[in-house]
């Protein structure tokens, strides 16, 4: 048994000819909050999809709880995912269900709890994100921050042991952002979870994370505790942390050819 809940070893990923990630080595210790940072389009969401087994690495391995994700059967993959909560970039709430039913979806699917208990469970989760009062609203009636919090409640309603957050702060006002940050830390510590937070915003993450990886130009250019990273003198890291546009890391990624990739 390793102490790492997630372990990526020599991981590479490409869309056809276009290499997104190259030789990534990354581990997430149990109980910690680990940040994966890097500029937009560098492949952070890709890392998340590789961890959850939605995509398969071109080479290298992904291990979650000691099991190799890419060689899992469909059934085992789904079994593993029951223990993972994912907050997608846009929340991805079900637009045809109200807030209550959205949060209830995983419960209804994976348990046979009686209705009264489902109601309690969902309301407790909504209370913990401060949205018990919004229980009857439809997703279209929510602000961006509220939708994100409902999605957070939905992702964590079955108390998974691993939470993955994809850009949880993007597009939020400062109050909304700090609310989410606090929720991430609180749920992680209260539930003895492990959390991976994917983000391009530096400041908040340096506050939240126990450990951080910085991805740039296909590979990890720096890692460490926030303190270590701040003291690091590698120009690529200094550039990223200070948000300088020009520097050793080219922030302009080659224009992608998504269209041709999908049709070709």
């Amino acid at each position: 048994m390793s102490e790492d809940l997630i372990k990526l070893t020599d991981l590479s990923f490409a869309w056809g000819e276009k290499v997104i990630l190259k030789n990534i080595n990354l581990s997430v210790p149990r109980g910690s909050v680990v940040a994966i940072m890097g500029p937009s389009g560098v492949g952070k969401t890709t890392v998340m999809r590789l961890i959850t087994g939605q995509w398969v690495p071109t080479s290298g391995t992904v291990e979650v709880a000691g099991q190799c994700v890419s060689s899992m059967s469909h059934k085992n993959l789904y079994k593993m995912r029951r223990n993972i909560g994912v907050l997608l970039q846009n929340g991805a709430l079900f637009t045809d269900l109200d807030v209550f039913e959205n949060v209830a979806v995983p419960v209804r699917e994976h348990t046979n709890l009686p209705e009264a208990l489902i109601r309690r469970l969902v309301l407790i989760k909504l209370e913990s994100v401060g949205l018990r009062g919004a229980v009857d609203l439809m997703p279209s009636e929510l602000s961006g921050g509220m939708a994100r919090r409902v999605a957070l409640a939905r992702a964590s309603v079955l108390d998974p042991s691993l939470m993955l957050y994809d850009e949880p702060l993007a597009g939020l006002d400062p109050i909304g952002a700090s609310t989410i940050l606090r929720l991430i830390r609180d749920t992680n510590d209260a539930m003895e979870m492990t959390s991976v937070v994917i983000t391009h915003s530096v400041e908040d993450m340096m506050e939240l994370a126990d450990y951080a990886y910085i991805i740039a130009s296909q590979s990890i250019v720096g890692e460490g505790t926030p303190e270590e990273l701040r003291q690091n003198t590698d120009p690529r890291i200094v550039q990223f942390l200070n948000g300088a546009i020009d520097g050793p890391v080219p922030f302009h990624y080659p224009a992608d050819d998504l269209h041709q990739d999908l049709l070709g």
């Binding site: 939605q54 995912r81 029951r82 997608l88 637009t95 995983p106 994976h110 939905r154 049709l263």
Partner: protein, 258 residues
């Protein structure tokens, strides 16, 4: 994927789509579990489809019945055979027009909204979110819509026939002044249960499978953008229509020759 030139694409793309369709169809059948959750979802979808299509099916049926009667009355009167107008109406409806027109209307109304709905769920990552919650989107989203479509089309087709007969009867009896006893008597005498009535049923079942499958396929495999969703709805109507008309001929040929 390896590099391919445009010549290869012209052959490999349709082949890839065909292969993908076969796999997807097998996946849908494999994900069909008549458990309580899925049955409830299927019923809900039948209700939705019904709500979306009932009115246009009924109105169209009524008017098709009237126009068929009018047209055949004009021709039949040249031979003094206007009494058989009821028979002509029923036969053309049951054998051809009922299932075909219902299928075309169905794909235009319900099929497009199913494709758009699924495409939108894909574009907004709702399908991806389901996968991540360990919920199989094929099982929960695709199968209920597909099965509901397959169930609904024969029912809608029957309703179309019913309304068309009503429309035709109304026109023949009240406007053309044909004796109602003769009208109905001729109609009942000429329709055979096995070859006419069941032909209607088999056709609408086949069309239900085709139009529903094309709708869920177009939505599920669309490029997840607004433009992609637009193309998925267009594709639903066009592919459904062509496939329905081809299969209509094949079934007719098969059932008349055997």
């Amino acid at each position: 994927m390896s590099k391919s030139n445009s010549n290869m694409d012209a052959i490999s793309k349709p082949l890839a789509t065909l292969g993908r369709s076969v796999l997807f169809f097998a996946q849908i059948l494999g994900s069909f579990r008549p458990d309580l959750k899925q049955l409830r979802a299927i019923l809900g979808q039948v209700y939705f489809i019904g709500a979306r299509s009932l009115v246009i099916i009924m109105i169209s049926g009524f008017f098709v019945g009237m126009v068929l009667t009018l047209q055949s009355y004009v021709e039949l009167s040249k031979f003094g055979a206007t009494d058989s107008v009821g028979a002509v109406l029923a036969l053309s409806l049951f054998r051809e027009l009922g299932p075909v027109l219902t299928a075309l209307l169905f794909s235009g109304r319900a099929g497009t909204s199913i494709a758009a709905e699924i495409g939108l769920m894909k574009a907004t990552e709702q399908l991806s979110a389901m996968e991540l919650m360990a919920i199989d989107p094929v099982k929960r989203v695709i199968v209920p819509r597909f099965i509901a479509g397959v169930i609904s089309l024969p029912l809608l087709s029957m309703l179309f026939n019913l309304l068309a007969v009503a429309g035709g009867a109304a026109y023949a009896i009240y406007i053309m002044g044909i004796d109602s006893g003769i009208f109905w008597g001729n109609m009942v005498a000429s329709v055979e249960f096995q070859s006419d009535f069941m032909m209607s049923f088999w056709k609408s079942l086949a069309f239900g499978i085709i139009t529903s499958f094309v709708a869920v396929f177009s939505g599920y495999f669309t490029t997840p953008t607004g433009d992609g969703i637009g193309r998925a709805t267009t594709q639903t109507v066009v592919v459904s229509a062509v496939a329905v008309l081809i299969v209509d001929f094949l079934i007719t040929a098969l059932m008349t020759w055997t």
